[in-house]
C-alpha cells in the first residue's frame, strides 16, 4: 500500500478547507472548483489567489512524503502571467490570508513551466521538510494576472508532484 494524497484548497474569511479539489480553475471569485464561464477574469484584471496544499490523509505504510514540486504545462492566453509563491531558493512559507483579486503580494514568482530540478514548495516552512503523519504541506499560492489586450483564456494543466519514501 502507498500514501493517499489529495490537493486541498482554503477559501474565504473563515478559511474553509476543501480537502479534495476536483479542479483548479482560476476566476473572478474566491471559490473552490469554480466555473470560469460564470466567473471570467476581465482583460487586465487578476484572478483571485488560490491557496492550496497537499493533503496527506494516509501514509499507507510509507515513512514520509517530501520533495514537493509544482509547475504548469500549457501556454496561457494572450500576455497573461501565472504567479506563485513556489520557489527553489529564498523560500518562506505563506500564511493563509483571505484571497484577493488585486496583484498578489504573496505570489510574486513566475510559475515554472517544466518540472523544477529541486523542491519549490515546502513542508513546515522548509523545502527539505517532510510529512510523516496525516496533515498538510505549506500553502501553494498562485494567481493569473492578465493583460488588457488579452482576448481569451486558455486551458492548462497544473502539476503537483511529491516523492514517497517507503
Amino acid at each position: 500500500m502507498a500514501a493517499t494524497v489529495t490537493i486541498s484548497e482554503t477559501n474565504g474569511v473563515g478559511a474553509t478547507v476543501t480537502a479534495s479539489i476536483t479542479n483548479t480553475n482560476m476566476g473572478s471569485t474566491d471559490a473552490v472548483n469554480l466555473d470560469p464561464g460564470t466567473y471570467p477574469i476581465s482583460a487586465g484584471a487578476s484572478s483571485y489567489e488560490k491557496y492550496q496544499r497537499l493533503n496527506v490523509t494516509n501514509l499507507g505504510g510509507s515513512l514520509k512524503i517530501n520533495n514537493l514540486k509544482v509547475w504548469r504545462t500549457g501556454a496561457l492566453g494572450g500576455a497573461a502571467t501565472h504567479k506563485t509563491n513556489a520557489r527553489t531558493s529564498g523560500y518562506s512559507n505563506a500564511s493563509y490570508a483571505t484571497p484577493v483579486n488585486t496583484t498578489s503580494v504573496v505570489a510574486t514568482q513566475t510559475m515554472p513551466t517544466s518540472v523544477p530540478s529541486t523542491a519549490n514548495l515546502g513542508i513546515g516552512g522548509s523545502l527539505s521538510g517532510e510529512i510523516s503523519a496525516p496533515g498538510f504541506s505549506d500553502y501553494l499560492v498562485h494567481q493569473i494576472q492578465t493583460n488588457v489586450a488579452d482576448a481569451s483564456g486558455a486551458t492548462c494543466t497544473q502539476n503537483y508532484q511529491y516523492d514517497e519514501i517507503a
Binding site: A2, T4, T6, N66, G135, Y162
Partner: protein
C-alpha cells in the same frame, strides 16, 4: 519529681497548643493547593487548523475537525479519505510514480 515532670509536660502542651493556633485552617491549605494547580494545555498538531470547517470536496459533507473528515465515508468515492481510491482515477499510477521517485532519492 513527679510534680516537676507534670509542670514541664503542661508547659509543653501549652506550647504545642500555641503552635496549633498559629497554623492556618485546614480548608485554607486545601484551597491554596487547588489554586496552584495549572490547567493542562492541549497540544495542537503542526498544520492542524482549529476552528475552521473542513469540506470533503468530493461529497457535500462538512466537518468541524480534520479527524472527523478523515473518518467519514464519502458516498461519492465510496471510500474514506484514508483509502487510496479517494485520490481518484489513476491513483495507482500516481502512487507508483511517487514511490519510484522516493526509491531513487534513497539511492542517490
Amino acid at each position: 519529681m513527679a510534680r516537676v515532670y507534670l509542670n514541664k509536660t503542661q508547659q509543653e502542651i501549652k506550647e504545642a497548643a500555641d503552635k496549633v493556633k498559629e497554623l492556618p485552617p485546614l480548608a485554607a491549605v486545601v484551597n491554596k493547593k487547588k489554586k496552584s494547580l495549572k490547567p493542562k494545555e492541549k497540544k495542537v498538531q503542526v498544520n492542524e487548523h482549529t476552528g475552521v470547517t473542513y469540506s470533503c470536496g468530493q461529497c457535500p459533507e462538512t466537518f468541524d475537525s480534520y479527524d472527523k473528515y478523515l473518518d467519514h465515508h464519502c458516498p461519492t468515492m465510496n471510500c474514506t479519505p484514508r483509502d487510496p481510491q479517494y485520490m481518484g482515477e489513476g491513483y495507482e499510477k500516481i502512487q507508483a510514480a511517487a514511490l519510484e521517485r522516493g526509491s531513487n532519492q534513497k539511492n542517490d
